[in-house]
Subunit: 471 residues, 2 copies
């Protein structure tokens, strides 16, 4: 974060907390410059940033004032009853959603990061350089667990999340999807019951379904995450084998589960001898820094399996993920051997270069700040253009916004209407096995904001208004 | 194949067939030159090649004569009773075997192709070139089924195997392993019985085990493949759901199953409504050209699933395979989505370049000829250096030789003895769920022959002799 962004963030927090009420005159540029030990220009930039966010307004010859804002949208209402579902009827809808991007399409539907950042260039260079001599390497030199150097680097990066691991605790996979698939098969057999967040990211639901598991959907709060209380009730009623959670930068809700709730979840799982599968793919994209500790880092039983990847922090096309399977390493290696064999080595080696040359942390820092900035923008755009009464999440990490519309709106119909304007969203229905969330949608806000993007959000708003008028 | 190789092959066939009996004087250089319309030099080169193979010997001023040879080794005795096994205890041994290569090791233990051929260079160039701009592409542009262009090219290549498919019948996977894993899950549920060849390649056995299947091992002839007769008996006794076979360039036996036997196998499977999973990874490395038609190409029911990859023809590090799942496409797409998501696009695009620019067919032709030549050499070396009574396979494709030693030899012990000389082989035990083949081994002969390789084979022979003497 640059100095002006830092200052803007401090001021914006004070406004949010009500320290500077609406209409009040804010400290002068000179006072702030002195108070924070920064230049006049920095304060001016910070105020301009806050103006962009419509938090403050400049009045000629009077200075800056806290702006009168639209009501902040409410939070989505995700919580309702626990239920056990045996099938997922949404596969056709998911398939529809993961179709390739059409020419000219403004696609909000994917959970893909921004891969246009210049800070990724050293990675592209490494890949190109290495592919001249490394690409065709056979498996002969490859450990089924993946590159030792990469596993060492991942263990180092994981110190930030509170974990003390070494290369021997980590297994490289073809993306986080394979890590999850391995994790589930490590702790469950087909027919077993797995508890999931509700809403749960659609690949997770399809994965459980594809592996023959039964899903138990647990009410999940858009700010504090999976309900430990509801889970406790569920564990008493159902023979749950594992709990699949994404506590940091949750997909689709964007929350960071508070540390105390993480601890309570772990305690509950340990009491019932249930495994936790922790999806940490968005972990390093948590806006609060340092990032929250993983549940894995708090566990001493080996019954928490961490799955992650470079797909959200770097690029999904690399297909490099990992699993830290706790006490299940032997099973995990067998699963890896039988599902795809060793992961391609070239991208692994390129990532090692990228990390050891210091580019990785710089890139992730930059993206974190970009995504946080974009979160504020998309929040404003949705507030401005979507109908009053729209509820939205408050992402604390990642680049996904969850939106709950008026209950008369079917977002699948909305998506069809938007397709005429070459815009696409992720429909809410695929985030639950039970076909809930028909009025919800998920929007990707990873890309650098442009007028075109802003207009696309406006067009979504117009389409929603039109659907409402038809009712 | 060059002219002299072609002539050498014709002459060698005549000798094998007994048209030129042992000790007989062969046609003069001049006569052959006229008969085949080739130069004197070509005939001389052909005779030199046959001398190298110890098929002919030159006698000063008299010309060339059919050489007196050592007895040709017998065929391995693979066939014995059908049996149903519920577990595979060999995982530790497999894990041992797939360890990374040690510095200085002469590794015969992998099923890896030769990737040092200069005909692969255009592929490396494409990869490097594409990675400058394509590598980080997100999934947004990617079809879960893989690159359309690549699927079109694969469909074209498959015409040689008798199949008429189009891109819509093919799904790209992370190597053949994922294709097999998807195929099995398309047609079976955990607990089902799958019939396999005996011996069966170890990854296949581990895969079935890992997916919770029960295996039924069917006696397999080292020349004609899986016993259709034994299979028929088995199908009457057991509720078999699928048959997993590698009819072309079989791993580990190297046979090409005769067309009539393929037809009989298909008929049998259709009568019993059992799916066939056809592993064709070595299909294009069949020495006879044109290659044998796949079982898939003879089927009209959609109950034969073809799995293949570029791992044996190009390089395993590419991690690009495919499945043509017959009538199971929808299930296969779901399995692909949940097991790893889309396959990395860069290697797919590089392979498209390599094929469309005409490099692929040239490369495969070259490797086929290299492997056939190496097959003759390794056969001679094993005949020369291994104890009398050793039995070996007669590979008709690929680069793997199956060797059956005196039954007092335990090849795991042999491997330990060889490890002191930094040589490794694949032990026979891992090729059967029932722990048979303790006296067998598999040797890779893909690499260009060198004195070092020849010496390594000699060292294996010496080690076997030593173990026999200890008995």
């Amino acid at each position: 974060m640059t100095r002006y962004q830092n200052l803007a963030s401090i001021l914006s927090q004070r406004i949010e907390q009500g320290l500077y009420p609406i209409g009040v005159r804010l400290p002068s540029i000179r006072v702030l410059s002195k108070e924070h030990g920064v230049s006049i220009t920095t304060v001016q930039q910070a105020y301009r940033e806050l103006e962009d966010q419509q938090l403050v307004e400049a009045r000629a010859k009077s200075g800056y004032f806290v702006a009168r804002r639209k009501m902040r949208p409410g939070l989505p209402d995700c919580c309702n009853t626990t239920q056990c579902s045996l099938t997922i009827p949404q596969w056709d809808r998911v398939l529809d959603m993961v179709n390739p991007v059409q020419p000219g399409e403004t696609a909000f539907r994917f959970a893909a990061p921004d891969i246009t950042a210049s800070s990724l260039k050293p990675l592209t260079r490494s890949l190109s350089h290495l592919s001249q001599r490394q690409y065709l390497r056979t498996f002969d030199d490859e450990d089924i667990r993946g590159s030792f150097e990469l596993r060492e680097q991942i263990a180092r990066l994981m110190i930030d999340s509170g974990s003390r691991m070494d290369a021997g605790n980590i297994l490289i996979t073809d993306g986080c999807r394979e890590a999850l698939s391995i994790a589930i098969r490590c702790v469950c057999a087909p027919g077993d019951v797995v508890a999931v967040e509700k809403p749960c990211f659609h690949a997770g639901l399809q994965l459980l379904h594809g592996l023959g598991m039964n899903m138990l959907e647990i009410p999940t709060d858009p700010v504090t995450g999976i309900s430990v209380e509801a889970l406790e009730l569920a564990l008493e009623q159902w023979p749950v084998k594992a709990i699949l959670v994404t506590p940091t930068g949750n997909n689709p809700l964007g929350y960071n589960m508070p540390i105390e709730r993480r601890k309570a979840l772990l305690r509950l799982a340990q009491e019932h001898d249930v495994a936790i599968i922790e999806d940490d793919a968005y972990g390093e994209l948590s806006y609060p820094y340092p990032r929250p500790a993983t549940i894995t880092s708090m566990d001493f039983t080996g019954n928490v399996l961490l799955c992650s990847s470079f797909s959200k922090t770097l690029a999904p096309g690399l297909r490099v993920g990992w699993i830290a399977p706790g006490s299940y390493m032997n099973r995990a290696i067998h699963m890896k051997y039988v599902s795809t064999g060793p992961t391609a080595s070239l991208p692994q080696l390129a990532i090692v270069d990228f990390i050891t040359q210091g580019h990785y942390l710089k890139h992730v820092r930059r993206m974190r700040s970009q995504y946080q900035h974009n979160r504020d923008l998309i929040t404003r755009w949705v507030t401005d253009y979507f109908p009053c009464g729209t509820r939205i999440s408050r992402p604390q990490g990642g680049f996904l916004l969850w939106v709950e519309l008026d209950h008369r709106i079917d977002t699948q119909r909305l998506n069809r209407a938007l397709s005429e304007q070459n815009i696409s969203i992720a429909i809410g229905a695929v985030f639950s096995a039970a076909g809930k969330y028909d009025s919800c949608l998920r929007i990707n806000f990873a890309r650098q904001p442009t007028t075109e993007l802003k207009n696309a959000v406006r067009q979504i708003g117009v389409a929603i208004h039109q659907l409402l008028e038809e009712k």
